[in-house]
């Protein structure tokens, strides 16, 4: 089990999507340790848990496959080698970061990281804003103002972020209950 998770951990260059892809390929398609349905169900559960989703799904799958031994094998295999590589890469970067060419390179990387972040935010919000389902909590007409209001609350009022999360969550909860009541009547 450990070697299986290790393979996933060190091969998955490209972030969470690549890791999820490799997990599905190895655990479901090649080794048939999980059904497609179980795999999807575990990923769906992780949306409700805080922290790194891939760590949470590893805990669920590890426990399913081999109890607490599976959890430890999963987390150690997935995260320890990749974390060690991340530390080594950061240490290597730290030792050359003062070179002029590296400074210029990092100045170029910053706008790219911002672009990646913007795309990630858009991809995160898209299923909520454009689900097209009749029972959706938000349409783009109600969701976009909430999204930009949250941005404004942080940018202009510097409200604590978790307060903004809670307020938006309560707005979503209120809207979904109101819509459900309207559908019933």
């Amino acid at each position: 089990m450990f070697w299986l998770w290790l393979r996933i951990g060190i091969q998955s260059f490209g972030g969470g999507v690549a890791t999820q892809f490799l997990m599905r390929q190895l655990l479901v398609e090649q080794k048939a340790l999980l059904t497609e349905e179980e795999f999807n169900r575990y990923f769906a559960m992780c949306r409700f848990a805080p922290g790194i989703n891939l760590a949470a799904v590893t805990i669920l799958i590890g426990r399913h496959l081999d109890g607490w031994r599976g959890v430890v094998a999963g987390l150690v295999g997935l995260l320890l080698p990749s974390s060690a590589i991340t530390i080594a890469m950061t240490a290597a970067y730290t030792s050359v970061k003062d070179l002029t060419i590296i400074q210029s390179g990092i100045r170029g990387i910053a706008p790219a990281v911002v672009a990646l972040g913007f795309v990630l935010c858009a991809k995160m919000a898209r299923p909520v804003l454009f689900s097209g389902r009749a029972n959706a909590t938000f349409s783009w007409k109600t969701g976009l103002p909430v999204l930009f209001l949250c941005a404004a609350l942080l940018a202009l009022l510097s409200l604590p972020v978790f307060v903004i999360y809670a307020v938006a969550g309560i707005v979503g909860l209120g809207l979904s209950l109101a819509a459900a009541r309207a559908r019933r009547t």
Binding site: G51, L78, N135, V171
Partner: protein
């Protein structure tokens, strides 16, 4: 570095958010306010995190290293491991809460908040370069390449680094 507050702040950011980049807004607010990190260190950690193997959330380990050395990296690693265990509680109640309208509504609202505050935090990472035409050109190029979904993230970052080395 104050070990306990350092660990607790990262734990708090992970426990009050979801996903690999979810802790960014809370961590940004706490670390910048205390003067424990600069915008630049956030950018550097995110760039390393996106380039290294494994989940996106490993940028926290890089961030820990940049702001607190090896001890900081190990503290960040430990802090990010704890909150995901709450998924075992979710598993117990999942069948009761998953299809609840209220649960879905709350999660949808929170997702929009994470995306909205994320836009602000990522925007702030540019700092003084936000009005620099070279940075805007690199931003636009990276945005188009990322949106196309055809170019690996690590290649986008490598191209941006080369463009930065040439332009700046």
């Amino acid at each position: 570095m104050e070990v306990v507050p350092f660990f607790l702040l990262i734990l708090k950011a992970c426990a009050l958010s979801t996903g690999g980049l979810g802790p960014l807004p809370i961590l940004h607010a706490d670390f910048i306010a205390r003067g424990w990190a600069s915008e630049r260190e956030f950018t550097e950690a995110l760039a390393v995190g996106q380039s290294s193997p494994g989940p996106n959330g490993l940028w926290l380990v890089s961030f820990g290293y940049l702001t607190g050395g090896l001890t900081g990296a190990l503290l960040a690693f430990a802090a990010m491991l704890i909150p995901p265990f709450s998924v075992l509680l979710v598993q117990k109640v999942y069948d009761r809460i998953a299809d609840q309208t209220a649960t879905k509504g709350f999660m949808d609202g929170m997702t929009l908040a994470i995306a909205g505050t994320g836009l602000v935090i990522f925007g702030q990472l540019l700092g003084a370069d936000a009005s620099n035409w070279r940075a805007i050109v690199i931003f636009a190029g990276a945005f188009i390449l990322t949106m196309s979904n055809r170019v690996p993230v690590i290649l986008v970052l490598a191209l941006a680094a080369v463009a930065g080395a040439i332009l700046f």
